[in-house]
Amino acid sequence: MIYSKDVTSLPDLAHQIVSPRFDVVTQPVDVLSLQNLIIYAIENGIPIVPRGNGTSGWGGAIPTRGGLCISLSAMSGILYFNEFESAVTVETGITWRDLLAFLERLGFTLPVYPSSATAATVGGFVASGGLGIGSTRNGDILKQVIGIEAILPNGKIVRLGRLLLDSKTDPLREKVEEGNSWLSEKLSDAGLGSPEQETKLFTGTYGTLGIITKVTLKTIPNLQLIPFSCSFDRMTDLVRAADRILSEVKPYYMRFLADNYTSKLRALSEYENESGKYILTGALLDTIYQNEDNIEIIKTVTNEEKGYVLDDKRSWFYWSERLYPLRIKRHGPSLVPAEMLAPMNMLPEILEKTKAELRNSKVAIEGTLSNDGTTSFMVWILDDERKKVSFTIGWYRSFQIASLAERFGGLPYAVGLWNGRHARKFYGNDSYKNLKVMKKKLDPSNIMNPLKVFGGRVTIGRESMLLGFLLGFIVTMIGGWLLPGLLNLDWLNQFLSLSLVQFLYFPNLWLLGLAGGLIAVMIIRFMRLSQALAIGIPILRILSKLLRR
């Protein structure tokens, strides 16, 4: 039960389409025991879900059909570091915090790590992709991956990209050679490149194509870190300043906190200049001389854009807060995240629109700026899951934000389970097609993290089945009763007036209803996740509107 959750609070209704818990939780300690587990799962048709530390919120790590949870946290070694190659190789269950601590002792750091670094695993973030601390200069995490080792859903061990290891102590060499030659064949069948060129099969695909066991990541020198922070009265001013800082300074990291976020941070209650304001904060990571010049530029830009530069103490405060974006959850107490990847220049408009759409909800908004003109736009919807009805009905809001993103030329921030409907747009048409082809080749029995990214048939709960049956039954009964009169067809009227039909009118109507109910149940049984959501979300939305009235 404990391993079956991520950070999103789900309404009970969600368990009508995904199973509430895994059957078994396992913690393999090395690649070979993990390989054995996968082979066992294939032989017995058991679904497998890889799990880092469950800090994501898009359902990627939760069970959909019960099965086996494979927690990777016991595989957490640091295997290789070479400062001349600026690279480090780790087992994927290691937390970003531990990896950072190791590198910092040697005078290095990571170009990108997530703000969940204290608990998230390297594997979890690499498998999800996304922006993190450092992305403002270095882009998303996927650009920092040099090589990957993974176990495929058929148990083969493969290495993609350039996985750096001490070759003298590599017990898996033979198995990898075999796995890679098999994979090369499949890749060339699909018209794709060599394993060396195709790391993206496993990065950002949520563990649907295999379990990542080792990763080689880029490292950078840990130069002088200087945090900065400024406050603004208006989002438009903040965005203008951010735009100029991005192009003139190229900071290591830059994040914005909207007014509805800062007003909920308890630690800001005494700071008039910050609580309820728009905060732009981040850090420079450069030589002392560059930093000195750049800080001056930031000050000038902020003043020119009607902002207010905060002092060092406050900047360090925001720097340490970068690892705690969920501080505001106490205002819920439950959280429904809704996130998008938006063009930076559209931020003020998107913000206004989001506020308007969610005007009846408690929300807090923040985001990270990337180096390619996009921004993650995190909408934390605060609610109370103990109010079962309103919480369930309000669940549609998270999907509503994904649709809003599209209207403004943005994308959902992540796919995981719940945004599978947007996967094609998210990855791009061609890449998605390739991923789908490879999914079929690598995982023909669909045991690896089923339903995630690619969707599929859902196992509908008993309550929904019953409801579907009743609906089908009632609708066909009413149809059978009213339709002949409405159609007014001669032959139908003649048929219905036969004495035998008249005599068995009600039993027939019952039989018709029963057939209708059964058809409804069949339709539901074969329903796919995207269809279930496409039906469910509008219903919730309508209910929400009615309830509000």
């Binding site: 039960m1 404990i2 950070v7 530390n53 469950g54 800090t55 204290t118 959850k329």
Partner: protein
């Protein structure tokens, strides 16, 4: 829905819902570090409480036992993203366990002993004088004497012969510095901390008050402790301490550091001692007293202090706090061994701390691991380094 009376009575019913599942707490938890399953870590336990409230789980014997597999080390509290006072929550959960009659036997014993004997190990008031053997001259006129400073030993230091040297060292330091101090002697009773660990939150104030009323009668302004948990308990649970701020509660190192700054203590050169300081959880994370012991060691010539990783507020628990040493001694010992491994990667030959439970835990772990190192309380290190009295000594307080 299941009603959890204690969780509600102490206003904790929202906390399982406030948890963001971020996992910060679990990754620092010493119990999780050993047992490696979520259900033993704080995030997992909080989820279980939530599912019990939701009527999906049961508050059974197994879960009750897991609630006691915890050091109440405050590490989870100190890193919680959403500001949940997790240790408070675990104490209240223990009260819930007690209410349901599911207390582990060692916790029941502690409650009975504190109630009937006034200490945690079924001894008695007369035994609280045994530590004075050999220093009669220094203490004979001190017991229940009116004075501005009181030395509160706590059960472990008073009653465990292994720790008597800690108390003796403190008395010698006070005497050296010319402090006019008092001792409660056989009138000292347990501070009340073990009650909160064993799920009796109601009687802590009364236990604290038995000591505090005496302390007040003696005109004391500063109480010095050998055990940081006593300070935490009085600060959190004693109504009078909360209302009347005139009594100052100090850890041994806070007090000794003050004596050094007042030039009341003088040291002689030590023969190259490399020490490392183990921050006791409560001193570091609750009392924030991390710098004083380091400043003291810096003052003693010939003592070279190296840092362990982790240290200060990120310190790793010794494994003995929160009754874990009696509820699951093997697990407790494994946690202590892990901390000693932190020492072995430093050049230190001596681990210094300021909590009696840490000393006991490390002494045991030294035995089970075979590591050769000296475990000392900061008072023992200081007392051993004092220069002969004629050269030092301060004036009367």
């Amino acid at each position: 829905m299941t009603k959890l009376d204690f969780i509600e009575r102490y206003g904790q019913e929202n906390e399982p819902y406030i948890c963001a599942s971020c996992g910060n707490c679990t990754l620092v938890c010493p119990v999780y570090s050993e047992l490696k399953w979520e259900s033993y870590g704080p995030r997992g336990k909080l989820h279980v409480v939530k599912s019990i409230i939701e009527g999906e789980g049961e508050f059974g014997k197994d879960f009750a036992h897991k609630i006691f597999l915890c050091n109440l080390c405050e590490h989870c509290t100190s890193v919680c993203t959403t500001g949940i006072s997790l240790d408070r929550f675990w104490e209240v959960a223990r009260a819930e366990v007690r209410e349901r009659g599911l207390l582990p036997a060692p916790a029941q014993f502690v409650l009975k002993s504190v109630k009937e004997r006034g200490d945690i190990m079924w001894m008695g008031s007369a035994d609280r004088l045994l530590w004075m053997e050999g220093i009669d001259e220094l203490v004979k006129d001190r017991i229940l004497k009116k004075a501005k400073v009181a030395y509160f030993l706590g059960c472990n230091v008073s009653l465990k012969s292994q720790l008597h040297d800690v108390a003796q060292s403190m008395v010698k330091i006070m005497d050296y510095a010319g402090i006019d101090f008092t001792l409660l002697g056989e009138k000292e009773v347990c501070c009340g901390a073990p009650l909160s660990w064993a799920g009796n939150l109601k009687d802590i104030n009364e236990m604290a008050e038995k000591n505090l009323s005496l302390i007040r009668e003696l005109g004391v302004e500063t109480v010095v402790f050998s055990c940081p948990s006593c300070i935490q308990t009085w600060s959190e649970y004693s109504k009078s301490v909360k209302e009347d701020k005139s009594i100052e509660l100090l850890t041994a190192s806070q007090f000794i550091n003050r004596l050094i700054r007042e030039k009341r203590l003088h040291f002689e050169e030590q023969p190259m001692i490399t020490t490392t300081f183990h921050d006791p959880c409560i001193s570091a994370r609750v009392l924030k007293a991390t710098e004083e012991p380091r400043e003291i060691m810096d003052e003693i010539p010939g003592v070279y202090h190296v840092e362990m990783n982790p240290s200060r507020q990120n310190t790793r628990c010794c494994g003995a706090h929160g009754l874990l040493d009696v509820v699951d001694p093997v697990l407790s010992s494994r946690i202590a061994e892990r901390r000693l491994r932190d020492v072995t990667v430093t050049p230190a030959t001596r681990i210094v701390t300021e909590c009696p439970r840490c000393i006991l835990a490390f002494d045991l772990a030294k035995f089970t691991t075979g590591y050769e190192m000296l475990v000392q309380d900061i008072t023992q290190l200081v007392e051993g380094a004092l220069s002969p009295k004629e050269q030092g000594g301060g004036k009367d307080h």
